[in-house]
Symmetry: C2
Subunit: 276 residues, 2 copies
């Protein structure tokens, strides 16, 4: 692991790091915030998965999470959203390919070689975090935005024992029912069973369970009615007995202005469950 | 005035605007955050002046001021740091020319036509803010970072009746004594009297007074000993009877990680004086 940069911030250290990922067969860059802590202490870990077009840098610059993480003693890890590099296939669009890995392990050519973000986020990077940072891997939680909200929900629903809290900002909740979900068909092929394992609403319909979820959604979000459709998650959670706190936030859009506004609420909610 | 963008954020509106400036004879872009307020209410105004290479966007993205401004009911205005445009002369360096206006009205060719940031920040933009936003211009304060800290100090010292609070993050306090001050010679010529009107330490030595100043400075700031030299401000304030609160912050650098960490303290300090 190489250190790209570190800076003191909000009584902790905000770092950016790079490593050779066995999952993606590329170098991957990610950021980690570690609050000051007692020698030998291990801190709970919050995973933040980013949305389409983003890298680690968007939330690191604009997420306004550090003060809250420092207050609660939480590490926050922000991975990239796809493999990068000249050797990685791509297309000239912003909702598929680089910056749009959709947190799946692709099975279709030419994507299957490098687009393995599921394995990267659930296995490869956690192993590195456990080894290189003062992280208590028995206390993890996960959140994300938009495509990263999709990732947080699907990963949280798949590993309910690993994550003590799961929340999302404006998540894609049912990719198999919306246009952005075309990416699943491209990465995974037409196999509906494979696609349903990467669709939060379908996972719940198929039996996946967590106790509770927190979702914030701006009602001025231009992707709300076509791509995000939180009502589908609300219905699935109601039918499954999952306690969903879905907050429609008047006037808020899809940007980091929205995310940063409610980041503190989410980290309070995570901290209460990670510290319980 | 054209609206470039607006977004709801932290219980207010973060806007970016553009207007044709009579001071600089160019279009100028700036950002304004306005917290929600009662109809007809007018809110105190905090000016934030940015440092070398920055535009309004750096603090708008990374300054983490909105939650604090909303809590205190403060408008925050972030101007650009220089004129922009193809017609504006420039040089291929980052500490002079575009992005480096040093908050002076240049008197030397070819800079004098457009590089009039003093008039822009003290006259032109305030008139627009007063007309277009719910601003109480009888309650203003000013802060800034690095070159913008220089601007905040020199403007605050020059208009002590206008600004109820003056603070800075890692300011250039004595440009006539440090390498970055070469810009003053380029913009203003060798006239020492003119240069001293744009040097906080010289202004104080020459009789300018405010009651008090707040300055935060990271001790890991790579510009500390050569360019910033806060000890010169400390000595001038001591000799002049100005109450300077100079806080050396261990481990902090010159970046927005430093600024965002202490933004809340500065806005608390400004609010106490604006609301007094």
């Amino acid at each position: 692991m190489d250190t790209v940069s570190t800076a003191r911030a909000h009584g902790g250290v905000q770092g950016v790091y790079r490593h050779a990922s066995a999952a993606t067969s590329t170098d991957m860059t990610f950021s980690v915030f570690v609050p000051d802590h007692a020698p030998g202490a291990r801190l709970p870990v919050v995973w933040y998965l980013s949305g389409l077009t983003c890298t680690h840098a968007n939330v690191t610059d604009k997420g306004e999470y550090r003060a809250h993480c420092a207050r609660h003693g939480l590490i926050l890890v922000a991975p990239d959203t796809s493999p990068r590099g000249d050797e990685v296939p791509d297309e000239d669009r912003w909702d598929f390919g680089k910056g749009a890995g959709f947190y799946v392990d692709a099975s279709k050519s030419p994507w299957a070689t490098h687009y393995r973000m599921w394995s990267y986020v659930t296995q490869d990077l956690p192993a590195l975090i456990a080894a290189a940072f003062p992280a208590d891997m028995d206390r993890q939680s996960i959140m994300g935005h938009s495509m990263g909200g999709h990732g947080a929900l699907t990963i949280g629903l798949t590993f309910p024992q690993r994550f003590r809290a799961v929340s999302a900002f404006a998540p894609i909740v049912a990719p198999t029912q919306v246009p952005w979900g075309d990416a699943l068909t491209r990465y995974l092929g037409p196999d509906r069973a494979a696609q349903r394992r990467h669709d939060a609403v379908a996972l719940i319909e198929d039996g996946a369970r967590v106790k509770e979820l927190l979702v914030d959604q701006g009602d001025a979000d231009s992707f709300l009615t076509e791509q995000l459709r939180p009502e589908l998650l609300a219905r699935a959670c109601r039918d499954a007995g999952i306690e969903l706190t879905l907050r429609m936030q008047p006037g808020y859009d899809h940007s980091y202005h929205f995310i940063s506004t409610f980041m503190g609420d989410h980290l309070d909610w995570h901290a209460a469950r990670l510290r319980a």
